[in-house]
């Protein structure tokens, strides 16, 4: 299984943690991004994630390889959800293992930052009232 995965099913953090374990690594850092019940002052009731899967998987794998190389991390994993998510659901999970904590923190932080910038995934927020909105959508025809 690839170290970067797109999943239509709930993220199983216990399984991800088990995959991260490595006796040579003294430090593991995990990041979990969840659907919040608010964003930029609006109440959010659920989210939808859409993905360009072929490109997401190859770009995601590049991000993980960069994190391993730059920070000497021994293992770096990421899984990102697609589909309909409820409040509190995990949308993305990153795990990084390294000999020391500096490298593990830096690698995990790098992965989530780069995934958010580079991996082709989009989210649409649903509100109690009014139409759902794509986040970071392209500007309207001006």
């Amino acid at each position: 299984m690839s170290d970067f995965r797109i999943s239509a099913d709930a993220i199983d953090q216990a399984a991800e943690l088990a995959a991260l374990e490595d006796a040579a690594s003294g430090a593991a850092v995990c990041f979990c991004g969840r659907v919040r019940n608010h964003n930029e002052g609006r109440v959010v009731v659920r989210l939808e994630y859409e993905c360009y899967e072929e490109l997401a998987v190859s770009e995601g794998a590049r991000v993980l390889a960069e994190a391993r190389e730059r920070f000497g991390a021994s293992r770096v994993l990421c899984v990102h959800r697609t589909g309909d998510l409820a409040i509190g659901d995990a949308a993305v999970w990153v795990g990084a293992a390294a000999a020391h904590r500096n490298e593990a923190f830096a690698a995990a932080r790098y992965v989530i930052d780069e995934v958010k910038k580079r991996v082709p995934i989009w989210k649409r927020e649903h509100y109690p009232e009014g139409p759902a909105e794509w986040i970071n959508a392209a500007p309207s025809e001006a």
């Binding site: 991004g33 360009y52 490109l55 991996v119 082709p120 989009w122 794509w134 970071n136 959508a137």
Partner: protein, 78 residues
């Protein structure tokens, strides 16, 4: 030449379709997108991303017959 076009997220909604196949004389994604905008209510290309055959490419990448060209809004995962 014939290309397959994929639209994602808000572009899919604006285009009214996720995929189409088109006979075109466009030499680059930029030319292709301008041609598409004449037929569909798509936003300007500023800020959008393009992929050819599942790799990110410049807007001036040379297209070939049979290519899969994808147009995407700015990513918003996480």
């Amino acid at each position: 030449m014939r290309v397959r076009i994929d639209y994602f997220a808000v572009l899919r909604e604006r285009a009214g379709t996720a995929h189409e196949t088109l006979d075109t004389g466009a030499a680059t994604p930029r030319e292709l997108y301008r041609e598409l905008r004449e037929r569909r209510p798509l936003p300007p290309e500023t800020g959008l991303k393009v992929a050819v055959n599942d790799e990110f490419r410049h807007w001036d990448w040379a297209l070939a017959d049979g290519d899969r060209v994808a147009f995407m809004p700015p990513v918003a995962g996480g």
